[in-house]
């Protein structure tokens, strides 16, 4: 499969052995990216008022959780049971399943940095990309983004709220990347060679247990460069050949084993 190569490849190494699953990343992501709290009523739509309510967060298959924490279990009985948490942002695949399928080029991977973009005003909402992504990193905007009264008085300036009917996903807080590059230019530095920490997505920044390390996978001065090569590092569903830019690591073998399918033995 032909893969576009980039000089800069932003990526994450998520240490599952450090993630406590607290959910601060998921909250920070929603605040940064103006994802509205899920409210049942739509005060602007009288037809809605006459019919079924909108979904609230009880419906986990209708949320907009660009960053989503999965719970892993080793499947054993008490007291051998173990648990782990796996935060799942968009994998920003090197060979994305979603990009080639989009009929209207609303998603692309062509910018230096290797982040898979999503152009909301272009998206027609066909959801083919969601069908394509095995990580469920793509979310459909089922309902209009409406905040409880007054809560939208000041939204994050990072990204406009998306109308209903389009697909959304994590873009490694792309505005922060743009800002970091601008800052570098202002400081007379090379925007194509950002220092570690100059650009960090909201989830990685807020994580209280430092489980998410973020940086340029191609830059030897960035921690992720080495971490990604650790014998404990793995990527999700590597066998499918999507080449994610998000790596995970765990010293626990059972955790690593849940990163891919091994039911048919290990031949590839």
């Amino acid at each position: 499969m032909h893969m576009k190569e980039f000089k800069i490849k932003w990526g994450m190494v998520i240490d599952i052995d450090k993630c406590t699953g607290c959910g601060a990343c998921m909250v920070a992501c929603q605040v940064e990216n103006n994802i509205a709290p899920m409210t049942k009523k739509d005060p602007y739509n009288y037809v809605q008022a006459l019919t079924k309510d909108r979904d609230d967060a009880d419906n986990k298959l209708r949320t907009l959780t660009w960053m989503n924490v999965y719970e892993l279990s080793n499947g054993k009985s008490f007291p051998e049971h173990e648990v782990a948490y796996l935060p799942r942002p968009c994998m920003q695949c090197g060979n994305p399943a979603c990009v080639p399928v989009c009929p209207v080029v609303a998603t692309d991977k062509n910018e230096e940095g290797g982040i898979v973009s999503q152009i909301y005003p272009r998206c027609i909402g066909c959801r083919y990309c969601m069908a394509a992504c095995p990580y469920h990193a793509r979310y459909f905007n089922w309902w209009d983004p409406l905040w409880p009264e007054g809560m939208d008085k000041q939204l994050s300036p990072a990204v406009s709220p998306r109308p209903r009917g389009v697909v959304e996903k994590c873009n490694f807080c792309h505005t922060r990347y743009a800002k970091a590059k601008d800052q570098a230019r202002e400081n007379g530095e090379d925007p194509m060679n950002l220092a570690e920490g100059a650009y960090v997505p909201a989830c990685a920044e807020i994580c209280p247990s430092g489980a998410i390390t973020f940086g340029d996978l191609n830059n030897p001065e960035h921690k992720v460069h080495e971490l990604a090569k650790s014998p404990h590092a793995f990527r999700l569903l590597e066998k499918l050949g999507l080449h994610p830019q998000v790596y995970y690591m765990s010293k626990r073998e059972w955790v690593r084993k849940q990163g891919d399918n091994y039911n048919a033995g290990d031949k590839h």
Binding site: R54, L61, V101, V105, R122, R164
Partner: protein, 410 residues
């Protein structure tokens, strides 16, 4: 009261009776229309779809009717290009059925996309690598072709045709019909194939993904052939249903059997290739990504019984029934085979649409079962009702069946 509008030399039921029938159909249509309005006004959140099942009943419905509507292009191809004269006795019906299927599919797609106002972006910002772009192109173009094929039939309506301009227009369109039939064949083959490719390219979805040769041309042709293997007999079924409803003979059985033979041949080729494909997928591709055949199935909703029903009961069996002349020539058996065939291709489109995305690729994830809700059912029923209305009106007022007079009032 409307007898002046009937085709030459045939009888139709009373206007009152027709009105009652139309109202009966209209009731279903309106129910679906209400659902469609909800979808457009409140959004797709009103459906049973979710982030795990972005595709559901609607896409299955679309793919199924597009496959079943394939009778139009294939019969057109055989009649106009290969000049199989016999088929002109049923060609009008295949065009109408094709038109209903394709226009219905387009209506459903308008509901299905989250931003219907941006539907035309497929032309404005096309991604030439996307199978769906190809599908959008071909379906819209082919739908136009079907309209062009359908229009002359309308213009041939007894009263309309008296107007010289309309008469001339209809005549000219007829003269050029071979061109449109050719164009239709070309477009149809493409999008039927692309629809198969749509799933075949899903690299992240082991249930549907095929590698290299098995995407192109394999999945493409599987979809094309399965469509032409079922479309013609679907038209036969529609025709037979109309005969039962009207109590008249509309097409001679010989033509139906011929359609069955054509479809049966195609279905045989298809089933053979499908079995090969399934075998290669189960023993070659799946193990290469660490999966087994068993991993692909879950519970009753996504059980293996579905695959066996699709390939054996609704594939191998009708294929045999249709290619063996002695079976094919018995009406009851022909219709049974046709029905099985159509069910088989529908199951195929369903599993490729739903089971593909239901399979939890991440080992720590789980299977979810998708149930369409009433909104999806109602809007699909609306399309069926729309089909009934178009057929009823066409039958009543247009010269659809050239043999009708001869077979019933000789």
């Amino acid at each position: 009261m409307d007898s002046k509008l009937f085709p030459e030399g045939v009888q139709r039921c009373s206007f009152g009776k027709f009105l009652i029938w139309s109202c009966f159909i209209l009731a279903f249509f309106l129910w679906g229309l209400y659902a469609a309005v909800l979808v457009l006004y409140n959004g797709i959140g009103t459906t049973g779809l979710d982030n795990y099942f972005g595709f559901g009943l609607w896409i299955t419905f679309d793919l199924a009717v597009i496959a079943l509507g394939a009778g139009a292009f294939f019969t057109g191809f055989l009649k106009y290009i290969l000049k199989i004269k016999q088929l002109e006795k049923i060609i009008n019906l295949t065009v109408i059925v094709g038109f209903i299927c394709y226009s219905g599919a387009m209506l459903v797609l308008t509901l299905d996309i989250g931003q219907p106002g941006r539907a035309w972006f497929g032309y404005w910002h096309p991604n030439v690598h996307s199978m769906l772009t190809e599908v959008i192109f071909c379906i819209t173009c082919y739908c136009t072709v079907l309209i062009i094929e359908y229009v002359p039939l309308i213009l041939e309506q007894k009263q309309l045709n008296k107007v010289p301009f309309i008469h001339a227009l209809a005549h000219n369109m007829h003269v050029n019909m071979a061109l449109f039939a050719g164009l239709g064949t070309f477009l149809s083959t493409f999008h039927q194939g692309s629809l198969g490719g749509m799933y075949g390219v899903l690299i992240g979805r082991p249930y549907a993904f095929r590698e290299g040769f098995f995407i192109w041309p394999w999945t493409f042709f599987l979809f094309v052939i399965s469509a032409v293997g079922s479309g013609p007999v679907f038209t036969v079924l529609v025709c037979t249903f109309m005969e039962k409803l009207t109590g008249k003979k509309l097409v001679e059985y010989k033509v139906k059997a011929l359609m069955g033979k054509i479809a049966g041949t195609m279905l045989t080729v298809y089933v053979f290739l499908k079995i090969l494909d399934t075998w290669a997928w189960a023993t070659g591709y799946l193990p290469s990504v660490g999966l087994t055949f068993d991993d692909m199935f879950y519970g009753v909703a996504y059980g293996k019984w579905m695959m066996f029903t699709e390939i054996v009961l609704c594939g191998v069996l009708p294929a045999i029934m249709l290619i063996v002349p002695s079976i094919r020539n018995k009406p009851a058996l022909l219709y049974t085979a046709a029905l099985l065939d159509c069910i088989g291709v529908t199951i195929n489109r369903y599993v490729f649409t739903v089971q593909t995305i239901a399979f939890p690729a991440m080992p720590f994830d789980k299977w979810y079962v998708y149930y369409p809700n009433w909104v999806e059912w109602a809007s699909s029923v609306m399309i069926v009702a729309y089909g009934f209305l178009v057929l009823s009106l066409s039958y009543r007022y247009l010269p659809v069946f050239p043999q009708e007079r001869h077979l019933n009032y000789k």
